[in-house]
């Protein structure tokens, strides 16, 4: 049996199309059962995430025939009647296995090197395995993919560093403060990115969030969501004595915080370190405040350039990762040559319990 892949991903299709082919978790076991009952696949796993819908199948059909039937199956299962072109990709061995390894390692993800996909892939495999729709070929392939993902994570820098503005901000805070546990965060102006930064800081242990927004109602909603408190926009500077991190993203056309205003505030807070994250455009904070002692100012460009540099580093690792994958796929293909093929007569397949 050959392992083949058919699917749509963020590389080939927009979300409007992907969402039409998405499988709800509860429907996946039935879909897998159908694939086997129709004789399209002897073993199958369906991976359905926000960025991709893929069917991994082990089949004894000729790849071309199998791809045609799988494509039809996808269209029928989702009552999709329009023609499909390059939005759907099809891969046969060895590319199918290489693709599986790449997906597991986050090399095919929208955010290069992200790890969430590995968990999603494990869940998809577990679901198929529990319903006994996997056998020797896919068990071996998936177990090996998980091992390769782990190997790549530990032996390359593909997952190192933060590639989003929010996580870069958290990393910066961790460079300044010994621990985020006792840190109070002030969010001035409630934009989407500042929300994400605040959320990321909270998830890393920040003590509390104070929200100041021109719309007090909006500030209250956000503060409630974060388990923090809202303050009137005019009063945000009164909070500076307590806070350690300020995230600013107002739509003010001028600086709302400058050196003259911050200097007395720093004295009041006994010169404790202060991290200022200015996400607003035009900027909310006068760059000159960075010259004050114990003040660390980062604007959106700083954060984005750090994230971009991390991404660049990750991209530089792709070649190394692909070499690892190419090496790890080889034994899997050679193993297939010497192993007897398992029939696809619809009988229950014996799952493999351990990976060598």
């Amino acid at each position: 049996m050959n392992v083949i892949v058919i699917g749509l991903s963020h590389h080939t299709s927009p979300v409007e199309l992907r969402e039409q082919f998405a499988f709800a978790d509860v429907k996946i076991p039935d879909a897998l059962k159908s694939l086997r009952e129709f004789g399209i696949a002897g073993e199958a796993v369906i991976l359905s995430t926000c960025n991709r819908v893929e069917i991994y199948a082990a089949t004894s059909l000729e790849p071309a025939k199998a791809f045609a039937e799988l494509k039809q199956f996808l269209k029928t299962a989702h009552a999709f009647e329009n023609p499909l072109g390059e939005e759907i990709y099809t891969l046969a061995e060895p590319h199918s296995l290489q693709h599986l390894f790449k997906v597991a390692s986050g090399l095919d993800s929208m955010v290069l090197g992200e790890t969430e996909i590995l968990g999603q892939l494990k869940t998809a495999y577990k679901l198929a395995h529990q319903h006994k729709h996997t056998g020797a070929r896919l068990n071996k392939a998936f177990q090996r993919a998980f091992n390769v993902a782990k190997h790549i994570r530990t032996h390359t820098s593909i997952q190192r560093g933060s590639v989003s503005v929010a996580s870069v901000a958290v990393e910066l805070a961790e460079k300044i403060f010994s621990s985020l546990a006792e840190r109070e965060v002030l969010v001035i102006g409630a934009g989407e990115t500042s929300e994400k930064v605040a959320r990321a800081l909270l998830s890393r242990g920040a003590k509390s969030i104070i929200v100041a927004s021109r719309s007090f109602e909006r500030a209250e909603i956000l503060a409630k969501e974060f388990g923090g408190r809202a303050v009137q926009f005019e009063d945000w500077s009164a909070e500076f004595e307590k806070i350690d991190i300020a995230i600013s993203s107002t739509s003010a056309p001028h600086h709302i915080l400058d050196r003259a205003k911050l200097e007395p505030l720093m004295r009041a807070r006994k010169n404790r370190p202060l991290l200022l994250i200015d996400i607003a455009v035009p900027r909310d904070i006068d760059p000159a405040v960075n010259f004050l002692e114990n003040v660390y100012l980062y604007n959106i460009d700083d954060l984005q350039s750090i994230a971009a540099d991390y991404l660049k580093q990750r991209k530089e690792e792709i070649v190394r990762c692909e070499q690892i994958i190419a090496e790890k796929v080889k034994p899997l293909l050679e193993m297939k040559k010497v192993r007897p093929q398992i029939s696809t007569d619809g009988h229950r397949l014996k799952p493999m319990s351990a990976e060598s």
């Binding site: 910066l172 460079k175 300044i176 010994s178 010169n271 370190p273 960075n290 002692e293 114990n294 350039s305």
Partner: protein
Amino acid sequence: MAWFTDRHFFLLAVALYGLSAVYSVFLWRRGFRTDDRANYFLLLAAFALHTLAMFLRGFNFKQCPVNNLYEATTFIAWTIVAAYLVIGLLPRLRFLGAFASPILFAMGVFALMPALDPPHAAQPDFSNGLTSLHAALILLAIGAFGLSAVAALMFLTEEHDLKFHKLRAIFSLLPPIQRLERVMNGLLFGGILLLTAGLSIIPFLPTEKSDGHLKNDPLLPYSIFIWLFYLVLLVARWKFGQGGRRFAWSALGGFVFILLTFWGFLLLSPIHHP
């Protein structure tokens, strides 16, 4: 192995400090992105040789090896590296070694100058246990100030990077600057405790040597000045929140001042250099 003296062991230790200093330059140029384990082990090996050299000297003369400028300098360097090896058990603080090794190397080269190690007198200068304790406590204090200066140097480097070389700051594996500030503070506090203990022994020291000289000994006001300087530094931080860059510059400046002046005052002292 009579031809292989304690000074030879110390020379080997200094060579390792030098090697570590060279390695530190590479670490610095790479932006402190890789763990500093290699440097830690280099300094550990140097420490073993350094300790052996001090033991040999101590056993040879049957007293704590703190009698001349060579011994005083090696003792201070030994304190710095010993304290580093403890602090460096924390992976991120291990990078202190990269900042400490050039200072250790420079101190080692300075100590090895032959004029600093004249032959011991028949009657040792420090013939009393309390006198040895006094000297050892003061040198340990200077060692603690030395390591706090190393932490200050690291703080200033990282603080500058955080403000102006933002990419380098975030890619490095250096510890958070707040933690460095605590390390500096702790070492200064330990140093001042040791210095206080060392100075407070003076009234109980044997009087035959100090009699008539103590009032005229420039090392006494010098030591009090150093003690006051660090005390003011710590009080300013504790009482007025004087932290960050100024605190680090003061810790660094204080130790540089000691390095530049201590030997001079020691030579001027009629008690310590009769």
